[in-house]
């Protein structure tokens, strides 16, 4: 067991961002330890097993996919910074995705990893808007989305300058919000740009075996670089003294010290740990309000067997306007995301062992957290059916000898309650606080944030967040001091 009590850097949380920060720091000779409360790595992008089946927690698809030879993309930066060979991630591209709006999906826009597909779909369905759409794309490409101190700007306002049809506006916002926005109804334009690039200009891919492939690569790099980690041992308190994180008290009561502390557990969640001499005037960060339920259906054949087509991801909405907000009801089934993980272009001879259908909808965290166990279970059963029924409206009617119902071999569902239990995020807020903190500084001089609340989004974004905070606050500061 690790008995060391003092480190150059301590990282709180072994999710994607914490592991990426750890790899950088360990590679450049810092003594690093990651403390993780859960017994598995991955955080919001982990995986779990039930009855021998492994399920990914968050991953529908890895966004920000770019093909070999495309330069300067977040994926390329990430591979370089972590010294990962592209082949190690074994990414397989999506077949194609769809945004579908109207009570029965009357208006659809298809998109793939080739951006011209979306562009021509917009030109066909919204001919009067296509020039505005192109102008918006130009504005997105020109925007410096990695600046650490960009002013806040309403994405709705910027988009409306270019696009006059609210249907097209909502259709563009829907996937971007579902895949990363912590903000209700609107997004910061910087976040919009990051997501627009990640989903539309770049694209979707995944390894055959899902998120665990990526985690395995990260763990191997971290271990090889000499990084330490302690599982089932979170940080319960950060002792502040003279404006610095003086010591960390672990769940088992032991104390460790570090010159730098990087926390990946969220801004409000980190602030709650700070005890003692806390500088005044640093306001608490508001927790996020957006959470989700996700249903997972395991089928004994590929979804294409039911005539469900080749869609990888389907973003749907049945109402006149798309409302991305914490719902009044327990779950808002008007809109959601369908993911068919079988529909990636896996390599010849490769396929997932079973069929999978995942559906995500917005959920109201307070009710899901408050129910006693029996009511919670009953609600899960009720809403599982409602979510499935809603989503199925946007898939072709099933054909073939066997109905999807008869082909179900297992189901699972996660809720805001599950998210809080396993990740510690207040209110099951997957995308964290609506207030992002790009430079990652906190009330304490040597305590920094990375991950969700630093504001880079998606799996690639999470890893880049860890990398850039490790660079900015530790490596860069110390590199030039010869």
């Amino acid at each position: 067991m690790n008995s060391r009590r003092d480190y150059d850097v301590v990282i709180i949380g072994a999710g994607m961002s914490g592991l990426a920060a750890g790899i950088r720091l360990a590679h450049f000779g810092r003594s690093v330890c990651i403390f993780e409360r859960h017994n598995a790595v991955g955080g919001l992008n982990g995986f779990y097993s039930i009855e021998g089946r492994r399920y990914d927690v968050g991953l529908h698809a890895l966004t920000n996919f770019s093909r070999p030879g495309v330069r300067g993309t977040p994926l390329v930066k990430l591979l370089r910074q972590l010294r990962i060979e592209r082949e190690e991630l074994a990414l397989c591209e999506q077949r194609g995705s769809r945004i579908t709006f109207g009570p029965h999906g009357e208006t659809s826009l298809r998109f793939t990893n080739d951006f011209t597909v979306l562009e021509s779909e917009v030109a066909e369905r919204f001919p009067a808007q296509v020039d505005g759409f192109r102008a918006l794309v130009a504005a997105v490409r020109a925007f410096d989305d990695v600046a650490l101190d960009a002013p806040a700007l309403s994405a709705r306002e910027v988009v409306r300058r270019h696009i006059a049809d609210p249907l097209l506006e909502d259709m563009l916002f829907c996937p971007l919000m579902y895949y990363g926005s912590p903000t209700e109804r609107d997004m910061d334009f910087g976040q919009f740009v990051i997501m627009f690039k990640a989903l539309f200009l770049e694209g979707f891919a995944r390894p055959l075996e899902g998120v665990r492939v990526i985690l395995r690569v990260l763990l191997a790099k971290y271990r090889a670089a000499g990084g330490e980690r302690r599982m089932k041992c979170g940080v319960q308190r950060i002792e502040a003294r003279a404006g610095r994180a003086h010591a960390l008290v672990l769940d088992d009561g032991a104390e460790v010290t570090a010159r730098h502390v990087i926390s990946s557990i969220g801004a409000p969640e980190t602030e709650r740990l700070i005890m003692g001499d806390v500088p005044a005037g640093v306001g608490p960060t508001p927790p996020g309000r957006l959470s989700f339920v996700e249903t997972i259906t395991v089928l004994n054949r590929e979804p294409t067997a039911f005539g469900w087509g080749d869609d990888t991801i389907v973003f749907f909405n049945d109402s006149e306007r798309f409302e991305y907000a914490s719902p009044q009801a327990d779950v808002d089934t008007r809109s959601g995301v369908i993911c068919l993980p079988n529909n990636f272009e896996y390599r010849p001879g490769q396929c997932l062992p079973e069929g999978l259908l995942r559906v995500t909808c917005l959920a109201r965290p307070d009710v899901w957290s408050a129910w006693p166990e029996d009511e919670y279970r009953a609600a899960k059963g009720r809403w599982f059916t409602a979510v499935q029924d809603s989503a199925r409206r946007f898939l072709p009617l099933p054909m073939g000898a066997v109905t999807p119902e008869a082909a179900v071999v297992a189901t699972d569902m996660f809720t805001p309650r599950t998210i809080t239990r396993y990740t510690g995020h207040f209110g099951g807020a997957i995308y964290g606080s609506p207030v992002k903190n790009r430079h990652g500084r906190t009330a304490l001089d040597n305590l920094y944030l990375c991950g969700t609340d630093q504001g880079f989004l998606g799996i690639i974004g999470a890893m880049l967040s860890g990398i850039s905070m490790a660079n900015l606050h530790v490596l860069q500061k110390e590199a030039g001091k010869a």
Partner: protein
């Protein structure tokens, strides 16, 4: 160490940092940034790899000395030789 060897040391580092770049035709007198896709994160890595692998310190004020392979060789070769002389 010769200047040629020093250029090779820098090229080896770049090959590890940016395996997606083709380094077979890098012109030693041309700025690296003008012929390869290297950003500030990559240059920071060159500095840190020099320290990690060879014990060479490059203070921030001297980062511009690493602009091209030739300027790297001019700047780094004496540092390598001084280090070799000490040990």
């Amino acid at each position: 160490m010769t200047k040629d060897e020093c250029r090779q040391v820098v090229l080896d580092i770049i090959a590890d940092i940016a395996p997606d770049e083709d380094l077979s035709n890098v012109k030693p007198e041309v700025r690296l940034r003008d012929q390869l896709q290297l950003d500030s994160m990559d240059f920071l890595d060159i500095v840190m790899e020099l320290r990690k692998r060879h014990g060479i310190e490059v203070p921030e004020a001297d980062y511009m000395q690493l602009a091209s392979l030739d300027s790297c060789a001019e700047y780094l070769t004496p540092k390598f030789n001084a280090l070799a002389g000490k040990s």
